[in-house]
């Protein structure tokens, strides 16, 4: 694996916001045709990391390499042009706008010239229909508002749009978090398909059960730092879960809960002894 040039690589990337160190010394690489799963609890730095990758933030230190070349993005638009497409949690979909308008938002196909330049609606509708049917969603009318689609379908539209516009790196921010089991499986299947099409996929989630089936490797983040990258072969689902939640913390939580239980039991025993007085004195 390592002899190939990674499609996207982060080398010792740090990001500071004033005195806050949001990311420190993160290194990570993703090959084409590979799904990298970024795991981490809230506040671990997942969002900062993907925003750095997608050009929203510039890294304070370290560098980004796209296909072996060092890159620095001035804005999300530049990252998009370079082939890094990010599907944010809010999907960048506008419910009241039609599927076609959403699909081509910011990149409308045009015909005509000068002041008569206009959107090629025929072509746009046809492409939107076709790309939607490729992912197994039957759209009867591409001019229907996106708001009429289900959550999973919207997610698929967002991914289909990224893929159609030539993404080489696809970053998905919590694509399954708001979805039911069935809908999530539709999205996961589509992620697997994008991988087999040769995209480098970075998949952010805190749901290991969604991540494990499709991921090839896992990178775990904690409090802005990386706990390391693990190939799927090297690590079991339970181990991932454990590391992500912070195994030590869970153990101490267990201990604490046991303590609570014990004190509860003690209280019950003592309250059983003088129950009538207790009912009159709720202050205990």
């Amino acid at each position: 694996m390592s002899e190939r040039t990674p499609m996207i690589e982060m080398r010792n990337v740090s990001k500071h916001f004033g005195s806050v160190i949001a990311l420190s010394d993160i290194s990570m690489q993703v090959q084409a045709g590979e799904v990298m799963c970024l795991l981490g609890d809230n506040g671990a730095g997942k969002s900062t990391l993907i925003k750095t990758l997608s050009g929203v933030h510039r890294p304070t230190e370290g560098e980004l390499l796209l296909n072996g070349e060092s890159v620095r993005f001035k804005s999300p638009a530049y990252a998009l042009d370079a082939g890094i497409a990010t599907v944010f949690q809010d999907l960048a979909m506008i419910p009241l706008m039609s599927i076609t308008r959403n699909f081509f938002m910011g990149r409308e196909p045009t015909v005509g010239w000068g002041p008569l330049k206009r959107i090629d609606w025929k072509r746009a509708d046809r492409i939107a229909m076709q790309e939607m049917s490729r992912i197994g969603i039957d759209v009867r009318d591409p001019s229907q508002p996106v708001g009429t689609l289900s959550g999973g379908e919207r997610q698929c539209v967002a991914i289909a749009r990224a893929v159609y516009f030539g993404a080489r790196v696809l970053i998905l921010d919590e694509p399954t978090s708001a979805l039911g089991v069935k809908q999530a499986s539709v999205v996961l299947r589509y992620i697997a398909k994008a991988r087999s099409d040769g995209l480098a996929v970075i998949f952010i989630t805190h749901n290991v059960h969604h991540a494990y089936p499709v991921a090839d490797a896992f990178t775990l983040l904690k409090r802005g730092g990386s706990l390391g990258t693990f190939r799927k072969e090297e690590i079991s689902r339970e181990e991932v879960l454990n590391m992500m939640a912070g195994g030590a913390e869970l153990e101490s939580l267990d201990a604490e809960l046991a303590e609570f239980q014990q004190s509860d039991r003690q209280q019950q025993q003592s309250s059983g002894a003088n129950a009538p007085s207790l009912s009159q004195a709720p202050s205990t």
């Binding site: 042009d81 809010d90 938002m105 959107i119």
Partner: protein, 376 residues
């Protein structure tokens, strides 16, 4: 970012794919259009006044031109306000901009002897600057445009009064008509078009003539042409151009639009400039028509424009609406205003009617939009 051809079309498109696009019945498509409510409202109001004002001359050619002129003036600023509202912002400084623009035209022309076209260009440049400042302030500070432009409502009105008092000692400047002769730019904002056609129609006996054999209505006032032209251009921009898509996107969800590569800031700045410029068009038409400028011109016009836009089906929160709807809203406004005059109802009741119309329109539009989102 604005590359027009997608980088890689994945597979060659089979022509048969076209049949998959189901033919949606026309009426069903119409139901999901924002201007439907306004259209229904227009028909209702029209029917009401045709019946109640019969014999009063409201629907003679002269009467029609009368209420169309009222609608046209409002429609010009409503068109721009509609685009801005679809783009997710308000401009409350439109009315004050009308007053200031009038002063900026009148003072240089009357007091300093500038040619009228130069004074008008000055007004248009200042309007563009005001719109640019409005847009930048909203973009940079992230404040609601309601507050930013409310500030400019007072700043511009105060400047209009302050400048004209300082330079002339008055708040009214007259005598523009003397400067209009031979001015090519002023001609765009004054007079009537198709006068030949109307004279010919009078000659054929198709339209009413006065005692001298001239038609009562000698032509279409230029304001109506401006109104229809701006509405047509705005509709075309909204429905057919990438920029129109960006307006919808910016108003629907600015963040999502930005992440998709839409230059949201540029779109909003240009829309603010458009409202300020449309206010100046309004001012030019008014100044050329009356021959004078007054610092209190355009009072409350910003709210009337918003009413027209909302009656026209636009969503106050942005991302939804139409320029045709705004035109219909302005038409309803003109019909009601002049209709009340013709039917002899006390004009005091006009505002009551207007407010009620606004509420009914908003309720109806909300209902229709919910329907549109449910329909699958």
């Amino acid at each position: 970012m604005q590359s027009n051809t997608p980088p890689q079309s994945s597979t060659p498109v089979a022509e048969q794919q076209d049949e998959r696009i189901q033919r949606v019945p026309f009426w069903k498509k119409a139901l999901s259009r924002p201007e439907l409510g306004a259209l229904a409202g227009t028909v209702l109001v029209l029917a009401f006044f045709i019946v109640s004002s019969s014999g009063t001359g409201m629907f003679t050619p002269a009467g029609i031109v009368n209420f169309l002129e009222v609608s046209a003036q409002l429609g010009i600023i409503a068109t721009a306000a509609a685009l801005l509202m679809i783009g997710g912002e308000f401009d409350l400084s439109i009315g004050s901009m009308i007053g200031l623009a009038g002063i900026l035209i009148a003072i240089p022309a009357v007091e300093y002897g500038w040619p009228l076209w130069a004074a008008m260009l000055l007004a248009f440049s200042c309007a563009a600057l005001v719109g640019w400042i409005n847009g930048n302030l909203v973009n940079r500070t992230g404040l609601p445009s309601f507050i930013v432009t409310l500030g400019f409502l007072f700043i511009l009105r105060g400047m209009a009064i302050g400048i004209s008092r300082l330079l002339t000692g008055r708040t009214q400047i007259g005598g523009i008509h003397d400067h209009m002769a031979g001015d090519w730019f002023a001609a765009l904002f004054s007079g009537e078009v198709a006068t030949g056609l109307f004279a010919w129609m009078a000659g054929q006996g198709w339209i009413a003539t006065n005692f001298a054999g001239n038609p009562v209505v000698t032509g279409i006032p230029v304001s109506i042409v401006w109104w229809l032209g701006l509405t047509a251009v705005a509709t075309w921009v909204l429905l057919c151009t990438p920029y129109g898509n960006w307006i919808f996107a910016s108003g629907g969800d600015a963040n999502a639009a930005r992440n998709s590569g839409v230059p949201v800031h540029r779109v909003k700045i240009s829309l603010f400039m458009f409202t300020a410029l449309s206010a100046t068009v309004f001012a030019c038409l008014q100044v050329m028509d009356t021959g004078s400028a007054d610092t209190i011109r355009g009072l409350l016009k910003e709210l009337e424009a918003i009413i027209a836009v909302v009656i026209g089906g636009a969503l106050l929160t942005g991302g939804y609406g139409s320029a045709i709807g705004a035109a219909l809203g302005a038409l309803i406004f003109g019909l009601v205003q002049m209709g009340i005059f013709y039917t002899g109802v006390n004009t005091d009741w006009f505002q009551v009617f207007l407010g009620a119309m606004l509420l009914i329109a908003v309720l109806f539009n909300n209902f229709m939009r919910k329907k549109a989102m449910e329909a699958k």
